[in-house]
């Protein structure tokens, strides 16, 4: 009853092509955005439930937003273009460390040319974007093998990137500005004259980034480039015979995906962690994003959000359950349990719906359209 489309006729192609063609969806989205941009800060300001402390903001919403952004980036590469990547963490690291170098001024003595490159310290926003750009450039480099190497073999190439950059950011002290401990701290977040220091302000900053990037990505994905990516994913030979250039399609997917992932990495370091070391972006991070994308749904922007929420919340929820039930368990047992249950849930989900939560969501919406009728 609520979700009927009856009466909603599209009289132009533009209306038909809209991101949310159904009016109820548009309303729901506006409500969600209103709550996210206005409701949450208000609740946090007055310490109302569930924002009584800033735990929810600091430890759940902010990482959720940033990881969702990272998942969107990975989804572009894996879900839309069909190229497996197990090295997402490395690209986040590139984004983070490049942004860090840009904020502290880049000084590169190239003795072998006799020149040196010196860039003054930039402010936060350009640094983050440039960090993404650096990640994009490296992404293109590691994307070149994808023209010859396919499937699981390509996964190994991305693993090479992961381990190589793990090593680079530890050994090459230039990236950490030669700090003795190897860990670095983010600068103060001053963007466009505003300072983002409280959790609420940081949350809004992340929200702004995610909204803009999600919109731009959705636009890309429903246009010509998105179709090219999906064509390459589904049947690259047929795509080539239709004039789609695999080189352009694959490298653009790597570039844009790495850009988004790089920006997410910079945000993770600057906004969430504050101070970090290379371990923050190791292979565990890559696998975390991989699961978010697979469980959320390959080839779906909404899926990236759903997957991020699930993978992030699951360990926290599982942590709370024994306490809530009053069962005394050690931290170690809980973490092992989390491991087991996560694995089991992944298997279950893959059996029930290999296309992830996004697909389950569309099925639910289908059923909602019919509700309260059974068919």
């Amino acid at each position: 009853m609520l979700y009927r489309e009856a009466g909603q006729f599209k009289s132009s192609y533009a209306a038909d092509m809209a991101i949310f063609p159904i009016r109820q969806d548009r309303i729901a989205l506006l409500l969600l955005l209103a709550f996210a941009y206005i409701g949450v800060p208000l609740l946090a300001e007055f310490n109302l439930w569930p924002f009584r402390s800033d735990y929810l903001l600091r430890a759940i919403l902010i990482p959720f937003l940033i990881l969702a952004l990272g998942s969107i980036g990975l989804n572009i590469l894996m879900g839309y273009c069909g190229q497996i990547s197990l090295g997402t963490g490395a690209f986040m690291a590139i984004g983070a460390y490049s942004a860090y170098k840009f904020t502290t001024g880049v000084h590169l003595p190239l003795a072998w040319i006799g020149e040196e490159i010196s860039i003054p310290a930039l402010s936060v926003l350009p640094s983050i974007l440039l960090g993404g750009l650096m990640a994009a450039l490296v992404g293109i480099l590691f994307g070149i093998p994808s023209l010859r190497i396919k499937g699981l073999y390509l996964a190994v190439a991305t693993l090479a990137a992961q381990f190589f950059f793990d090593w680079v950011f530890i050994r090459v002290k230039w990236f950490t500005n030669y700090t003795p401990s190897g860990s670095v701290a983010a600068p103060e977040l001053k963007i466009l004259g505003l300072t983002f220091s409280t959790p609420t302000e940081r949350y809004l900053l992340c929200l702004a980034f995610v909204t803009v990037f999600a919109l731009m990505t959705k636009n890309l994905v429903r246009g010509n480039l998105g179709r090219q990516w999906m064509a390459i994913r589904d049947m690259d030979i047929a795509a080539e015979l239709m004039g789609i250039r695999p080189l352009y399609a694959k490298l653009s997917a790597f570039a844009i995906s790495s850009f988004v992932v790089g920006v997410a990495g910079a945000l993770w370091a600057f906004v969430y962690l504050g101070a970090w070391e290379p371990l923050a972006f190791n292979i565990d991070r890559s696998f975390q994003l991989l699961f978010m994308v697979i469980i959320g749904g390959l080839g779906s922007i909404l899926g990236s959000f759903l997957g991020a929420a699930f993978i992030l919340i699951l360990p926290i929820a599982l942590d709370q359950v024994p306490h809530a039930l009053g069962i005394p368990v050690t931290v170690e047992t809980v973490s092992l349990l989390v491991l087991i249950i996560t694995g089991a849930l992944i298997c279950c989900l893959l059996i029930v719906e290999p296309l992830g939560f996004a697909r389950l969501w569309s099925i639910a919406k289908e059923k909602l359209r019919l509700w309260p009728y059974p068919y």
Binding site: Y13, M216, N224, R227, M230, M235, I237, A239, L241, R245
Partner: protein
């Protein structure tokens, strides 16, 4: 179905070929894979505006022939001339941009996309707007998308598949999938359309529909067609000229009636009595 001016920009121009003249010619083309000789010294041509059938028993090399024209396989010997220019190594992308489109024996649609999206991919070569424009969508990219959407809707109307335009093609029955594939090839506005067994697996009604579409494509869309087909009735009815392959060699070439009565052709299909 009236011809739509929107769909036929600039067919005349550089390298334009007049109706009746040779559009594509293959001379002494030989192709082998390892030890297997798929094509041996095959020569024939395709004239603009005709429907050319390529027939032969299974394994004769017909699909390999199309793959060579497309640029997917590169012949070890021989010369291909398209629109008057010789091709040494036709790359698939080049073939597509020159105006060659095709359908496949085992439907090669993009299973993860809807009918509409599949056909829209056929417009890729004609879309000019870059990444930045697409990211912003509203503005030049949207206008271009709508323009091409209109062109694609004409094709959808023509092929009578409007009712399934949003359905993921993986869910469509086989006959409809073949129609969508034809639509995708037509979206490229090709000069030469290669159809690999378009009627395979269809019942009589579907074959009649498909034949109607093919004839309309030739007449109204002004497209030259090369067609691999096993159904002799279809071949006789539709085609202007026929070339027959057997074991990679050309064994006959001419009008349908002439080929039908050719002794070598009859032997190839029915076998020789010992």
């Amino acid at each position: 179905m009236k011809a739509d001016v929107e769909l036929r920009p600039g067919r005349a121009g550089r390298n334009a070929v007049a109706p009746g003249e040779v559009l594509l010619s293959l001379e002494h083309v030989s192709l082998s894979f390892g030890g297997v000789k798929a094509l041996r010294d095959v020569s024939f041509d395709i004239r603009k505006g005709e429907i050319r059938a390529i027939i032969g028993p299974n394994g004769a090399g017909k699909t390999s022939m199309l793959n060579v024209i497309n640029g997917f396989y590169h012949p070890q010997e021989g010369v291909i001339t398209f629109k008057g220019k010789r091709r040494h190594d036709m790359r698939p992308h080049l073939a597509a941009s020159q105006g060659i489109a095709r359908t496949f024996q085992n439907v090669a649609l993009f299973k993860g996309m809807s009918t509409l999206d599949n056909i829209m991919t056929g417009r890729t070569l004609k879309m000019r707007r870059g990444i930045l424009a697409h990211m912003l969508h509203w503005g030049p990219a949207q206008r271009e998308e709508i323009r091409h959407r209109e062109a694609v809707e004409h094709i959808i109307d023509f092929l009578e598949i409007a009712h399934i335009r949003k359905v993921p093609v993986g869910k469509l029955p086989y006959g409809l999938q073949k129609r969508v594939e034809l639509g995708r090839a037509l979206a490229m506005e090709p000069e030469l359309l290669l159809l690999d067994e378009p009627m395979a697996g269809m019942n009589l009604e579907e074959k009649q529909d498909m034949s109607r579409f093919i004839l309309t494509v030739k007449d109204t869309f002004d497209t030259t067609i090369a067609l691999i087909e096993h159904d002799m009735g279809v071949v006789m009815d539709l085609s202007d000229r026929v070339v027959v392959l057997d074991y990679g060699r050309k064994i006959a070439d001419g009008s349908p009636a002439a080929v039908q009565n050719d002794q070598a052709v009859i032997e190839a299909y029915l076998g020789v009595a010992h």
